[in-house]
């Protein structure tokens, strides 16, 4: 292979470094007005009265969208949501979290819009608030929604409660498995909510006309958004997504596109909204609060006989996507292990907190934290080496996962060896001020997979009049370098160089459909669609050249900027001449169908709960200050089975990016509300983020066995880098201090208190 497996700079790197890349907040549309959102000051309240007429009277105000305008327009639906249709465009009768959308002001400039917000007269009547998922599940808790609104068939709300989803996965006989165990371990783990804090703020410019609508946004799922807008507004929609400065799940299913579209529909002109960083904290989609109970039975030799695992995620006020995210991880919640008897139970629960979103693999990270820190405890208490006990249980090719899937191309033990080897050298010793230790963990990650066979990604590749190839792919270029990855796959299939390629991304009027840029799915799904289209186009190019050169297609070779006769390279036709002779550009489509069953060589059938599983392992070396409790990560390793790296440098950097991002929630990030549901961490002044000063040295390694079915053997890896970090750090902190923590972040105060308590216990 020439292009796949090499690491050219991303196609847009020069433009980005030079500041030429235009992001959505840079865009101006002629005639555009500006929106600001009036947000609820209360966590839960009845909307008694709203009168926006004083705001409308302010000079410069174009219009104000309230429940009255939404309900009055028969062409505008008032509920939003893809998998749960429970979010009103603006509050109708209730507000359900501090930051919930009450009204939208449209004005000639942002400052006027902001001023007008204060002129809207609103009367609220406060209702009992539920800020904790367990409390919201308790019998008799007040209901946050009067009824349930699931759309996706895999979601199972419990009517009459706040549980918007409960699901279970069971294999074997758990009670028998525990009875067979020599020892049973039970632990509880928790993690608080955090914000994604993508560098680029969420922005929308909507232009809604009577017969059509155009929405520019920096979302992660342009085609599902198009469908949802068309359903709500009953007219054809075009969604345009330019380069996006990070999303990590927070931009996957936000409702602000629909809200701004409703404002534009009322204003009868283009309307722009850019959320502020503070609004992102208040109302943005967050990684939800998480709690789990894990019980594991093992033999004396450390072989797992049974595991029961129950987890609760806080879906927030609207279950737009949070419930499905939680449900998807049921498949991986028990870990990358052979578990003959397993029971997994998942709850997603409404609370009066912001709606939850996926967060770089959510909540696989928290599951991994639970089963991998417990695994160290099991190893230590049984007196088995921490790496060895994992190897005795890790899934191997040919094993059956708890979902019934046949495990193929797993290589997770290799990942573990890689993560351990990367931190080799003498074990770090502590001293008077500093304790030092190492820890490791492994994981298994799923990707979004339909229950029935379906085409989830399509692509087109065209040979244009200038003799260059254009790849059209809806994958959102969100910083992961997807344009380059797709161009590399197409160039490889065509047999041309990367300089022959250009990429058009994510404009629903210009590219074929795709489900979303989430769940580490693009390289596999869109990569396969591009590979399919490019393979077809290559055949067509050779076919046309065959007519021009009067030779059989098999005798021809496409390379560089022309088609040559393999045996006599001087006989050639240039690509631009070929298109001219053809009379039109050559265009081919490709697709990727997934879902359904896997049939092995013997014809045996297996379910496919995930199109591919990504396996990874990570290690951390920590320093813990005895004086302050501060934890410093000195080195972090991570090894991932990526199938095959299309662009190895991009893959390494994406793993590092994930580790650097997860470092924050592991050590210090957390969203905090007071008892009234008022957010205390409401700006970056009170919400620390990792910076260069907190970064460890990274040692990343790729395991590349090639994944059957992936484009050139590649599979997804965008999220898995971050997933193991909290587990590895918690294990390293135990290694250093002898204290087992059951939650993150490892705030220095909590660490110092725990160290002192342990010291007192030892002395007392």
């Amino acid at each position: 292979m020439r292009v796949v497996g090499s690491s050219p700079p991303t196609l847009e790197a020069e433009d980005k470094v030079a500041g030429r890349t235009r992001y959505l907040p840079d865009e101006v549309v002629p005639g555009m007005a500006h929106a600001k959102v009036l947000r609820s000051p209360y966590a839960h309240a009845r909307l008694v009265f709203i009168d926006a007429s004083p705001a409308r009277a302010l000079p410069g105000v174009v219009c104000v969208l309230t429940r009255d305008e939404v309900l009055a327009d028969p062409r505008v639906g008032n509920l939003y949501g893809y998998v749960f249709r429970d979010a009103p465009l603006v509050a109708i009768d209730r507000v359900r979290y501090q930051g919930d959308i009450v009204a939208v002001v449209v004005a000639e400039d942002v400052h006027t819009a902001e001023e007008a917000l204060e002129l809207i007269d609103v009367e609220y009547e406060e209702l009992p608030r539920l800020l904790d998922a367990e409390e919201a599940m308790s019998p008799g808790a007040p209901l946050i929604h009067d009824r349930m609104y699931p759309i996706a068939s895999e979601l199972h709300p419990i009517e009459g409660t706040n549980v918007c989803h409960r699901s279970t996965l069971e294999t074997g006989d758990v009670e028998r498995g525990f009875a067979e165990a020599d020892a049973v371990f039970e632990d509880v783990y928790e993690a608080p909510p955090v914000q994604h804090c993508a560098l680029e703020l969420h922005a929308v410019i909507a232009d809604v006309r009577d017969d059509a609508m155009t929405v520019r946004t920096n979302c992660q799922a342009p085609f599902p958004l198009k469908a949802e807008l068309e359903r709500i507004f009953k007219r054809p929609a075009r969604v345009i997504v330019s380069y996006v400065g990070g999303g990590f799940g927070s931009k996957s299913r936000d409702r602000i596109e629909a809200v701004v579209a409703a404002a534009s529909n009322l204003a009868k002109r283009p309307v722009r909204l850019v959320l502020t960083q503070e609004e992102t904290f208040l109302a943005g989609y967050i990684r939800p609060a998480f709690k789990c109970w894990i019980k594991t039975g093992v033999t004396r030799d450390g072989i797992i006989t049974a595991r029961s695992y129950r987890f609760i995620t806080d879906a927030g006020a609207y279950a737009i996507t949070g419930a499905r995210s939680a449900n998807n991880t049921v498949k991986v919640a028990a870990g990358p292990y052979r578990i003959p008897n397993a029971f997994v139970e998942c709850f997603a629960v409404y609370t009066n907190k912001p709606p939850s979103a996926p967060y770089r693999g959510l909540p696989t990270t928290q599951h991994t934290m639970a089963y991998e820190t417990q695994m160290d405890r099991i190893a230590d208490e049984l007196g088995i080496d921490r790496v060895e006990i994992r190897k005795r249980n890790l899934l191997k090719d040919g094993d059956i996962h708890i979902t019934g899937d046949l495990i193929r191309s797993s290589h997770v033990a290799e990942c573990l060896d890689g993560a351990v080897a990367a931190l080799s050298g003498p074990a770090p010793a502590g001293d008077e001020q500093t304790l030092r230790g190492r820890g490791f963990g492994c994981t298994i990650k799923y990707t979004l997979t339909p229950p029935q066979p379906s085409v989830e990604s399509e692509a087109a590749v065209e040979l244009g009049a200038d003799g260059r190839f254009e790849v059209r792919a809806a994958t959102v270029n969100i910083g992961q370098g997807s344009d380059t990855t797709m161009a590399q796959i197409a160039a490889e299939a065509l047999g041309v160089g990367l300089e022959q390629m250009r990429v058009v991304h994510s404009d629903t009027a210009l590219v074929p459909p795709d489900s979303s840029t989430t769940a580490s799915r693009s390289t596999y799904h869109m990569g396969n669609a591009v590979l399919d289209a490019a393979t077809r186009l290559r055949a067509e190019v050779l076919e046309v050249a065959s007519g021009l050169l009067e030779e059989e297609p098999d005798a021809l070779r496409l390379d560089g900027d022309g088609v040559r006769l393999a045996s006599a390279p001087e006989r050639r036709v240039a690509l631009d001449e070929l298109v001219a002779a053809n009379g039109a550009p050559l265009l081919q489509y490709g697709q990727c169908e997934v879902g359904g069953e896997y049939v092995d060589e013997q014809g045996k059938r297996y379910p496919v709960a995930s199109t591919f599983w990504t396996f990874a392992a990570a290690g951390a070396e920590v320093e813990v200050s005895r004086e302050t409790g501060q934890i410093t990560l000195s080195r972090v390793s991570c090894a991932v089975n990526v199938g095959r790296a299309v662009n190895p440098v991009s893959v390494h950097k994406q793993i590092e990016g994930g580790l650097g991002m997860e470092l924050g929630p592991t050590l210090f990030e957390r969203l905090v509300w007071d008892g009234d549901g008022q957010l205390l961490t409401s700006s970056l002044l009170d919400y620390p983020l990792p910076t260069m000063s907190t970064m460890p040295r990274y040692e990343t390694a790729l395991v590349e066995p090639g994944f059957p079915g992936g484009p050139y053997g590649a599979k997804g890896m965008g999220e898995v880098g971050s997933v193991v970090l909290p587990a590895a750090v918690l294990n390293a902190v135990y290694d250093a201090t002898g204290v087992r923590f059951h939650s993150v972040p490892l705030h220095p105060e909590a660490v110092l208190r725990a160290l002192e308590e342990a010291g007192e216990a030892a002395n007392g």
Binding site: H111, L685, L689, P690, T694, L752
Partner: protein
């Protein structure tokens, strides 16, 4: 952010008059705090007076062996100035710990002092050095010890219309050393849990002749830890008296529980920082 009128007068006295003439004004210097407050809607002035045009408030002078730092001098200049590094290394050390390079390039000494935020690093170091602050009202100027300038969080001795025009430092003493230490959770750029500045002067025998210890972020203003300083006087500074100074500094601190930690934890951090700052200051004084 709301709309406001903007003025950039060319002199400090005109800036002071503009600020005095209306009720609803904001003096803008480097803007690293002011712009955030405007953006968050916490300040809604009708007039913003940009002090940046009053170039007389720029620059560092050396009168009588001391130093006069113009209010518009950036924190980055304090960090990188050779004159500061030689005469008052603790000031360069404190400056180097403020925010990020981008923040330090914009933020000014005058702004850091006039804002009155109890967490910032530079005022603590300035108080430890015995700085005086120079305030200008119209054409008249007055000076007062910086230690007396802060009244509470974001409250200072400045009268309506009065601006900080400079900060002055006494001439450096022989056998004197200083250290500024700070502790943050998360990144270095974040607000500190606590900070501590210590300046000590030793006599020819190595005994502590004079000491000033200041702790920040653990009270309504930067606090002068007088009992801590007294604990050091009259003997060489070693583990025992540095610990005792740290213990009483922690006792005298007035921290509150907040997102950065409980009062208990902040007192623990004050102990760590004061001990570290005092001992390092003594090492530097002896060197």
């Amino acid at each position: 952010m709301r709309n406001f009128e903007y003025a950039q007068p060319a002199t400090a006295s005109e800036a002071s008059r503009l600020l005095a003439d209306s009720d609803d004004t904001l003096a803008l210097s480097g803007g690293t705090a002011a712009v955030v407050l405007l953006h968050l809607g916490l300040l809604r002035p009708s007039l913003v007076v940009d002090l940046g045009g009053a170039t007389e408030m720029q620059g560092i002078e050396r009168p009588n062996g001391g130093m006069r730092v113009g209010a518009l001098t950036t924190i980055r200049t304090l960090e990188t100035s050779a004159a500061v590094a030689v005469a008052y290394p603790i000031l360069a050390e404190a400056a180097s710990q403020v925010g990020s390079v981008r923040v330090r390039n914009a933020a000014t000494v005058g702004g850091a002092v006039a804002y009155g935020e109890p967490q910032t690093d530079v005022p603590a170091a300035l108080i430890a050095l015995g700085a005086e602050v120079e305030a200008q009202h119209g054409d008249s100027r007055r000076s007062l010890p910086l230690a007396d300038f802060f009244h509470g969080p974001y409250e200072t001795d400045l009268a309506h219309g009065e601006i900080v025009s400079a900060v002055s430092l006494p001439a450096p003493q022989a056998r004197t050393g200083g250290c500024h230490a700070k502790f943050t959770i998360g990144s270095m750029e974040h607000k500190p849990v606590a900070n501590a500045s210590a300046v000590v002067t030793l006599d020819a025998d190595g005994a502590c002749l004079a000491a000033r210890v200041v702790v920040g972020a653990v009270g309504p203003t930067p606090l002068v830890a007088e009992r801590a300083a007294s604990a050091l006087l009259g003997a060489p500074i070693g583990e025992a008296n540095a610990r005792e100074a740290a213990r009483v500094a922690a006792e005298d601190a007035e921290p509150i529980d907040d997102l950065r930690g409980s009062a208990w934890y902040k007192r623990r951090i004050v102990r760590v920082l004061v001990e570290r700052a005092v001992r390092r200051a003594a090492e530097r004084a002896a060197a």
